[in-house]
């Protein structure tokens, strides 16, 4: 069956295909926890999937750079250490991922390639088929529209679904996506004009509902040219709780720390775990000297990385996709998230 790049599938039939796939491959999808929180988990039945969510509180980067991950394990044979890489990850399907997270993934793709390719990241990445859900109903914290993070994407997905009511509009972004449809017998029909038109309308409506809150340009200029008043950084530094939440939930933040966990029998594991540039321990040197001892310097660092031209040029993208998670997660309520800081910088000279 030849499938066109934009196809239309009844929702139930798409999910049946997913169910067939699930028999052979791990499928990770959004599920609702008891209290109402959304989390992505491996599922055993497509009925577990919830569509009643916009974006999950914790970013999908955890499926590519887990919060804690083994770098290698070791044991001793005599006095000789023997180190071993972790086992290869298995193939899986990530279903229901939102555009902003996918854009975050694209950001990480760029970061983890280059002169030093991060094999641990790429193994997971290559084993994962992404089926994303374009957004039609933004949250009031969403500002992807300001950061080219959504609400839908042109590329970067294997498959992108748009909910048209009874059917999904399926956009095929890669050969792997096409293979998924074929292998699991998802009955696709070419999208008709009216389908495309409906989608166009939905997109338009979504765009209109979206209140752009992060006018990045001025902030980028101020930061790039180091024109932000020191007093404003002082103020923001004093407000920050240094909880690290903003970086932990950010789909673009990748920093990690490394530590060893030895066991009594001489075996052990070296892990990496998420770290945060908002922590004082992040830059403290062995001598006790700390170049970013003050929260102010750390807040400044975070925004330099997110919004300076130097980084945008290097990464091809600002370090923000507009998912809005840093708004919800911040203890310094509505003061230090990206839209808030962008606004503060815009009003500052």
């Amino acid at each position: 069956m030849q499938v066109s790049a934009k196809a239309i599938v009844p929702k139930t039939l798409f999910l049946e295909g997913l169910a067939r796939c699930m028999k052979k491959t791990e499928v990770i999808a959004p599920v609702k926890m008891k209290g109402g929180d959304i989390t992505f988990e491996p599922i055993s039945n497509v009925r577990q999937i919830t569509f009643d969510y916009v974006n999950d509180h914790d970013p999908l980067k955890r499926f590519f750079i887990p919060a804690r991950e083994e770098l290698f394990s070791y044991h001793f044979s005599g006095n000789k250490p023997v180190a071993k890489s972790p086992p290869q990850p298995k193939p899986r399907v990530l279903f229901g991922i939102r555009s902003c997270d996918l854009q975050g993934l694209a950001h990480m793709d760029g970061f983890f390639q280059g002169a030093f390719e991060d094999q641990l990241y790429w193994q997971r990445r290559q084993q994962t088929l992404t089926i994303s859900l374009a957004c039609t109903e933004p949250l009031d914290t969403c500002f992807c529209i300001c950061c080219n993070g959504g609400p839908w994407l042109e590329h970067g997905f294997d498959l992108q679904l748009t909910d048209l009511g009874e059917t999904f509009l399926v956009e095929i972004g890669s050969a792997a996506g096409r293979r998924f449809l074929e292998e699991w017998h998802v009955p696709c029909q070419s999208a008709k004009r009216k389908d495309l038109q409906l989608r166009q309308e939905l997109m338009q409506k979504c765009d209109e509902k979206m209140i752009p809150t992060a006018y990045l340009a001025k902030a980028c200029i101020q930061i790039t040219n180091n024109r932000v008043r020191e007093e404003l950084w002082d103020e923001m530094g004093a407000e920050c709780f240094s909880c690290g939440g903003c970086t932990h939930v950010c789909p673009c933040c990748t920093c990690f720390d490394v530590y060893d966990c030895p066991q009594e029998d001489g075996q052990g594991t070296r892990y990496r775990c998420w770290d945060s540039c908002q922590y004082a321990g992040f830059t403290r040197e062995a001598s006790g000297h700390n170049p970013r001892a003050k929260a102010k310097e750390r807040v400044k660092r975070r925004f330099y990385h997110k919004l300076s031209y130097a980084y945008i040029q290097q990464d091809g993208h600002p370090g923000c996709v507009g998912c809005g998670r840093c708004i919800t997660v911040c203890q310094a309520f509505n003061q230090l998230d990206v839209p808030a800081v962008v606004k503060r910088l815009r009003r500052d000279g």
């Binding site: 509180h57 887990p66 004093a238 709780f241 909880c243 922590y279 929260a295 203890q331 003061q335």
Partner: protein
């Protein structure tokens, strides 16, 4: 997989999700649906989980064999504990045994430990480290309301029109509370901050009053004086006519200025803000309780709340910033020697009746407090059973308490790690972390929340509750083992828990006792007080410092908690990420004092008190007043506690841990 549970690192009780992979907890993330934390965590919440798989976790029981602790089976360990305690009891009577419970274990476990101590071992000497932080709060609030608990919810802070913080650092000690105060300040709500040390958020507040350490009582009384003298009190307060005769006249703002060094006009301003802004929340911490005047201070704050009409309305009330995740639960379960379960005094007969129904019997009188047990170690107290507390470091005057523990005939310690206390024990029992068991924690506003098992126990660890139950069994008693069963039994003994249905605990944020409907944060005060208002009892005669600064030791040394730490750091210093946050011990000094002594920031110095000395790095700052020094507590590299006094306040038995005289030397 993610498991929803309650953060165990401070009294806020934020909702968190633990991510589990191959029976290991690999991350914690915030619960968005939680009514209080609403999708946030502080640095401890995010990273504290690393303790669960720390390589130093105890994984099997240890028994002292000659000088060394050697691994043993659970049977051996439990039998040994039973045999030794039974023998001590036969030889010297039950009250030669002391039991010290934890403010971190679940309420169910606190309850079972209490039952074990009082009904199975039969000793009256059961206490917990509530003593060291909030004994004065328990004393005052229990006397006033019949409940030793906050009479406002954390969410009342959102509704308050004025906020007063005294002797507390909410941002560091209870970040979520700090966050709500921050939000209020940003909205323009007046915030009054009373503390000898300025904090990061202080500049955001309306008014900062910096009393000399230990002089808070005069300041609080001056606030009362101004309000009464100017007729600003809430018209509903009874007995106003005789208020003038209560000895408060002396506490004019000018007098208080002399005593505390706080400008008189600031005192008047604060009094006016408190009296005239509308509903107000008063939040206080160990800065005002760990003093010789601890009980008087809390009473004075109670008076202030009463006088300003802040008892029994929304957005108002008094909140003691309880310093551990389940300190409230420990109080609820009666893990203090003067209390029975349910906030009732042990000496009251009806209490003994309904508890005895389940327990069989319980002692008629209160026994010794933690500090008294330490003082009697080797004398009246021969055997000590310590659950989940690093007593050697938590107690003031570390050298003296370590020596006391060594004087015991028999010491059992139940913990996650080989703490300084466990290292002295005859038997060490390895306990499960919060991720390996079920139960409930009660946060600082009385919110009962589920703790859920995320992974199988590490090594051969057992939950504290299971260990206690096994020990009870060795003594021939049968304890309920299922957490729900324990909770139901507990409800019968704790009247204020009785309205709660177990299933309600499952909802996000659990249930605030006593009224399940009160969890929205309004009405806790009303639910607690009913028609009562509590009494206005001015305490005007403050005790003098036990150890005032003098020529030899010219500085007033006081202590506080850095954000990364919780209690003695047993847990938090074993989180890789938190441990690197704060590796260096510093002592703060006022910039002018530093100049006068020709000392600079970054220099190594020695803080010397009559009990010992501590090497640390100097930080010159304007955050504290001249004549004072500030040290972080329980720092693993430098125990401030080793320098502090063990002098006891007579009313509540809290040691005066916040303040003593010191001098600085170059190291």
């Amino acid at each position: 997989m993610k498991i929803q549970t309650t953060c165990p690192f401070c009294g806020c009780g934020c909702g968190m999700l633990l991510e589990v992979e191959a029976n290991q907890v690999i991350s914690a993330s915030p619960q968005r649906s939680h009514p209080l934390s609403r999708g946030t965590l502080c640095i401890k919440g995010w990273n504290g989980h690393q303790i669960i798989h720390h390589p130093q976790r105890l994984t099997q029981p240890l028994i002292r064999n000659r000088q060394k602790l050697v691994p043993a089976s659970w049977r051996q360990a439990i039998t040994l504990v039973h045999d030794r305690l039974a023998k001590l009891r036969d030889d010297h009577g039950a009250d030669c045994i002391g039991v010290i419970g934890s403010v971190k274990t679940t309420t169910e476990e606190a309850y079972l430990l209490n039952r074990l101590a009082r009904s199975v071992l039969g000793t009256p000497h059961v206490d917990s480290l509530v003593r060291y932080d909030h004994a004065p709060s328990v004393r005052v609030l229990q006397a006033q309301m019949g409940y030793a608990t906050a009479c406002a919810g954390i969410l009342d802070i959102e509704k308050a029109s004025v906020i007063l913080i005294a002797g507390a650092n909410p941002k560091a000690q209870a970040a979520r509370v700090g966050s709500y105060i921050f939000q209020a300040a940003k909205r323009g709500i007046p915030v009054i901050h009373i503390d000898p040390r300025q904090q990061e958020h202080t500049p955001l507040y309306t008014l900062f009053m910096q009393p000399r350490p230990g002089t808070d009582l005069a300041l609080f009384n001056a606030l009362l004086h101004v309000i009464i003298a100017r007729g600003w009190q809430d018209p509903g307060v009874l007995g106003i006519s005789h208020l003038r005769d209560d000895g408060l006249q002396r506490f004019t703002p000018e007098y208080a200025e002399q005593v505390c060094g706080v400008p008189a006009h600031q005192i008047v301003q604060a009094a006016e803000l408190m009296a005239k802004s509308g509903p107000g929340v008063i939040i206080y911490g160990t800065g005002v309780t760990q003093q010789v005047n601890g009980t008087a201070n809390v009473q004075a704050l109670w008076n202030l709340a009463l006088l300003t009409g802040n008892m029994g309305r929304e957005g108002a009330g008094l909140i003691p910033l309880l310093s551990a995740n389940n300190m409230q639960g420990a109080i609820d379960a009666g893990l203090m020697t003067e209390l029975a379960p349910g906030h009732r005094l042990i000496k009251e007969t009806p209490t003994r009746h309904d508890v005895a129904e389940y327990w069989g019997s319980l002692p008629e009188k209160k026994g010794l407090t933690v500090q008294e047990m330490l003082n009697q170690a080797g004398k009246r107290i021969k055997g000590l059973y310590v659950v989940g507390e690093n007593l050697a470091w938590a107690a003031p005057d570390t050298q003296a308490s370590t020596k006391a523990l060594k004087n015991l005939d028999f010491l059992v310690v139940q913990d996650l790690f080989l703490t300084e206390t466990a290292a002295l024990a005859d038997v060490v029992l390895p306990a499960c972390s919060y991720a390996e068991k079920e139960g409930t924690f009660t946060n600082l506003e009385g919110r009962i929340q589920r703790v859920r098992q995320a992974i199988r126990p590490v090594g051969a660890c057992l939950s504290d509750g299971e260990i206690i139950a096994r020990l009870a069994k060795a003594f021939g008693a049968t304890f309920p083992s299922d957490p729900k069963q324990i909770f139901l039994e507990m409800q019968s003994c704790i009247p204020c828990y009785q309205q709660i249905k177990y299933a309600q605990l499952d909802q996000p944020g659990g249930v605030v006792w006593p009224a399940p409907g009160a969890q929205k944060g309004n009405g806790r005060c009303r639910a607690l007080l009913g028609e009562r208002r509590g009494g206005f009892y001015p305490v005007t005669a403050g005790a003098p410092f036990t150890e005032p600064p003098d020529d030899e030791y010219p500085f007033a040394l006081f202590t506080g908690r850095p954000v990364f730490h919780r209690r003695t750091g047993t847990m938090v210093s074993r989180s890789f990420t938190l441990d690197k946050e704060d590796p260096i011990v510093t002592v703060e000094i006022n910039t002018d004092d530093a100049k006068a002594l020709k000392l600079r920031s970054g220099w190594p110095v020695k803080v010397v008190t009559r009990r010992g000395h501590l090497r640390c790095t100097l930080v010159a700052t304007r955050a504290i007043a001249p004549g004072t020094l500030f040290l972080p507590i329980h720092h693993k590299e430098g125990l401030s506690q080793s320098l502090m006094l063990a002098a006891l306040e007579s009313e509540s038995g809290i040691p005066e841990m916040k303040l003593c005289a010191a001098k600085l030397e170059t190291a």
